[in-house]
Each structure stands twice: as structure tokens, then as C-alpha cells.
């Protein structure tokens, strides 16, 4: 009799927990970041953020050392390439003003209405990485009180980092472009061919999708945000470089992989562009 009662109690407890979990999931899915759930999340992050920052600061040199040891050869190659690019860039600098005029004219011709230079920005510090294994996000120390809204683009010195996902009063979560649920409308800088840079689960490289298989794509080619109508990002933000191309012109699909320009683990400061797609709800 006692065993029967205990069994019934156990089943009731588990059933109650499962029903509560499913109710919470449903409420969260429907309510977004507003309401009680958003408020509780906001408070929890405010409490933990200072501790995250202290631990981040303490681990930063160790992370750098591990990263450097792991990528020693790669960094050396990168160094050589950057030196070559620097010398080329010096040569091109003289014609920079003319090129900018050309770009402005091309933007007008292409019907793009947005110029990133006019956009207000907010500098934010990365205060922590996600504790989860199934998402690629970072937390920044700016939120709705700084004018940050969900969907706003986030950039670092080298290029696009991602977009603001969840916004709290003093914190925001940024969905990195490497997250598998992230897709960025891009174009190849040389040919202008559009595509979508799609995050790949667990990989640092992005896949360039929806590209015409007959398009001539070169390794090393720069990829920038397309800024096409309805795009979540303004045009011209550097995103990645083509790291590999496979598949013949006859193939139905060309497999193009992109290496993001931003080194996410070492990025500590970012800028949030206070920008929304034209026509979007503010």
C-alpha cells in the first residue's frame, strides 16, 4: 500500500513538473522578452554580469595563450598576408577618395537607400559568452536604456559580428553570424552576386548559399552585406572572405565556404548600429 502511494506521488510530481515546463515554454515562446519572464531574465543577467566580467578578465590571458598555441602557424600565415595587404593598401590609398565617390554613385544607382556612415552607434563591451552548448551568442553590456533594439546589427573593427537577439534593460544577447539559426544576406564584393551567409552548427566557417552555380567565385574574395530591400543589415559591412570553393559549373550547387573576418573569441568591444531596415517597426 505504501509502495503504491509512493509510486502515485512520484508520478504526480513528475507530471506536474512536465506540465509546468511545457506551460513555461509556451508562455516564453508567445510572450518574447516582455512580461514577467523577460523581467526575471533581465534581473538574473544583471546580477551575474559583474561576476562574468571578473572571470572573463582573469581568463582572457589564458584564452589568448591557448588560442595562440593552437593557431600559431595560422597566425604566422595571416601575418604575412596582412603585411602584403598593407603594402597594397598604401598604394591604393591615393585613389581612395575617388573610389568612395564611385561607391556612393554605385549605391545610388543600385537603389540602396541606406548609408552606414549616417547611422548612430553605441559602443558595448562583451561581458560573457553563452553557458549553453547549442547556441553561439555573446552578452554585451548595453540594452534598451542605450537605445538597443532586437535585430540591430553589431560590428567589430574587422566586420560584422551578428545581430542583437534578446534585449534587456542593461544587457543584450548578440546572435553571432556563426550560429546555425543565423543567415546574413550578402554579396560577393567583386562580382556583386548575392547569396546568404549561413551559420553552420559547430563550424567556424559559414556556408554561402543560394549562389548561382555558374558564378565565378575566387578564394579570398571579400563578402559584404548586401543591404537588399528587407535585409536585416545595412549594405557594405564586411562579413567574411571566401575560404574554399568546390563543385563544377555544371553542378546544381556550388559549395562555397566563408571565413568570418571577426575573430569572435578575442573580440571584447563591439558597436551596435542603431539601425533598423527601412519600413521596419521601430
Amino acid at each position: 500500500m505504501t509502495a503504491f502511494r509512493r509510486g502515485t506521488r512520484r508520478r504526480s510530481v513528475v507530471l506536474l513538473l512536465l506540465v509546468t515546463s511545457i506551460t513555461l515554454i509556451t508562455l516564453d515562446q508567445r510572450g518574447g522578452d516582455s512580461g514577467v519572464i523577460g523581467e526575471v531574465r533581465d534581473r538574473a543577467r544583471d546580477v551575474v554580469a559583474p561576476m562574468q566580467r571578473v572571470v572573463d578578465d582573469a581568463f582572457s590571458p589564458i584564452d589568448d595563450w591557448i588560442d595562440g598555441a593552437r593557431r600559431g602557424a595560422e597566425i604566422e600565415r595571416e601575418n604575412r598576408r596582412l603585411r602584403e595587404e598593407l603594402s597594397e593598401a598604401r598604394g591604393r590609398a591615393a585613389s581612395g577618395a575617388a573610389a568612395r565617390r564611385d561607391v556612393a554613385a554605385l549605391r545610388k544607382l543600385a537603389g540602396l537607400t541606406f548609408v552606414p556612415g549616417e547611422v548612430e552607434t553605441v559602443v558595448a563591451q562583451v561581458v560573457g559568452a553563452t553557458p549553453g552548448n547549442f547556441e553561439f551568442t555573446v552578452e554585451i553590456d548595453r540594452g534598451s536604456t542605450s537605445g538597443v533594439r532586437s535585430g540591430m546589427p553589431v560590428v567589430a573593427g574587422d566586420g560584422l559580428v551578428g545581430r542583437v537577439d534578446r534585449v534587456y534593460r542593461h544587457r543584450s544577447t548578440v546572435l553571432l553570424i556563426t550560429d546555425p539559426s543565423s543567415g546574413v544576406g550578402v554579396r560577393l564584393a567583386d562580382s556583386g552576386v548575392p547569396g546568404v551567409a549561413q551559420g553552420r552548427a559547430g563550424r567556424t566557417e559559414l556556408a554561402l548559399e543560394f549562389v548561382d552555380p555558374t558564378t565565378d567565385v575566387e578564394e579570398g574574395e571579400l563578402v559584404v552585406t548586401s543591404g537588399l530591400e528587407g535585409s536585416a543589415f545595412p549594405p557594405g559591412i564586411p562579413v567574411a572572405r571566401v575560404s574554399s570553393v568546390s563543385g563544377s559549373d555544371r553542378a546544381l550547387e556550388k559549395r562555397v565556404l566563408l571565413r568570418p573576418l571577426v575573430d569572435f573569441p578575442s573580440t571584447s568591444l563591439v558597436k551596435v548600429l542603431l539601425w533598423s531596415p527601412p519600413g521596419a517597426q521601430p
Binding site: V13, L18, S21, F59, F134, E135, G202
Partner: protein, 173 residues
């Protein structure tokens, strides 16, 4: 009873803080362990499936506050882990040293699988990937390794088992 709840709450808060601040830096092959899951496994092993499920629910809910996935998803997964671990451990040789790591491994596999499957059902389609399988596998091994290390403190918090002796030789408490 009140003292047990206070001890478990203290352990839970400490582990969640460690999970959110320290363990993002201690990933193995890009995967962090789930300290809440490890503690749930130990609690369920010590004081039974229903209390394990309740502790798992609380641990999962606390972690959900810091994740992008819907609130309640980890809570559901860890509730199941607590219940399954408590139920399974009743049939195991409780004094054997290998039992806690084995339960940690099992809990990691069950928790990760429930998280992914329910996540996909509630619209997190990106969880359906080979990487998720890899994350669950690596995470389970990581959890198994940490289970003996956390065993003494979590077992202390859970208090004495109500039935037969449940402390395997060598893990303390």
C-alpha cells in the same frame, strides 16, 4: 527538511554561477559540461526520483534564464534526468565506485537528447544537426568525469538517503 532545502539551494546557486561565469572558458572540444545536470544525477541517486526531478526542474529553470532557448526547456530535460536517474539507480549496485560516473554519462545522454528533441518540437529546428549529437556525446563524457568530483558536496547537500546505504566507497559523504 528545511536544512536540506537550504543546502541544496546553496549548491544550486553556486553551480549555476560557476556554469555561467567559469565553465564557458573550460570547454572541451567546444563543449561545456552541465553542472546542474551532474548535481541532479547525484541528488536523484541519493534521495530518489521525485526529489531528483524537483531539483532538476529548479536547476534547469535557473540555467534557462541565461540561455536563448525557451524558458522551461532545460527544466523539462533535467526533470526527466532526475526521475530517470533516480529510478534506474534503484536497480544498480549502489556501493560500486563506477555507479556515479555511469549515471553522469547516462544522465548527460538522456538530458541532451530530451533537450534537443523537445527543442526541435517547440521550434528550435537548428538543434536538429549532427553537431547536436556530437555535443550530447562529448557533454555526457564531461559530465561523467565531473560527477565523482561533485559527488561529496552534492551528496552532503542532499543529506542522508532514506533507504539503504547509497554512498559508494571512495566518493566520500
Amino acid at each position: 527538511m528545511t536544512a536540506r532545502i537550504a543546502r541544496l539551494t546553496l549548491v544550486l546557486v553556486t553551480l549555476v554561477l560557476l556554469q555561467v561565469t567559469l565553465f564557458p572558458h573550460l570547454r572541451v572540444a567546444g563543449v561545456a559540461p552541465d553542472l546542474g545536470l551532474v548535481a541532479t544525477v547525484i541528488v536523484a541517486y541519493r534521495i530518489g526520483p521525485d526529489r531528483g526531478a524537483v531539483f532538476g526542474f529548479a536547476a534547469g529553470l535557473a540555467l534557462d534564464l541565461f540561455l536563448r532557448t525557451p524558458l522551461g526547456l532545460s527544466a523539462l530535460a533535467l526533470s526527466v534526468v532526475g526521475f530517470v536517474t533516480g529510478a534506474v539507480s534503484g536497480a544498480l549496485m549502489r556501493s560500486a565506485m563506477w555507479v556515479p560516473p555511469l549515471l553522469g554519462l547516462l544522465g548527460g545522454l538522456v538530458g541532451g537528447t530530451v533537450f534537443v528533441l523537445v527543442g526541435v518540437l517547440v521550434g528550435q529546428e537548428h538543434l536538429w544537426s549532427l553537431r547536436s549529437a556530437r555535443v550530447v556525446a562529448i557533454g555526457s563524457v564531461y559530465d561523467a568525469v565531473l560527477t565523482p568530483l561533485l559527488f561529496p558536496v552534492v551528496a552532503w547537500a542532499a543529506g542522508p538517503p532514506e533507504e539503504a546505504v547509497r554512498s559508494p566507497a571512495g566518493w566520500g559523504a
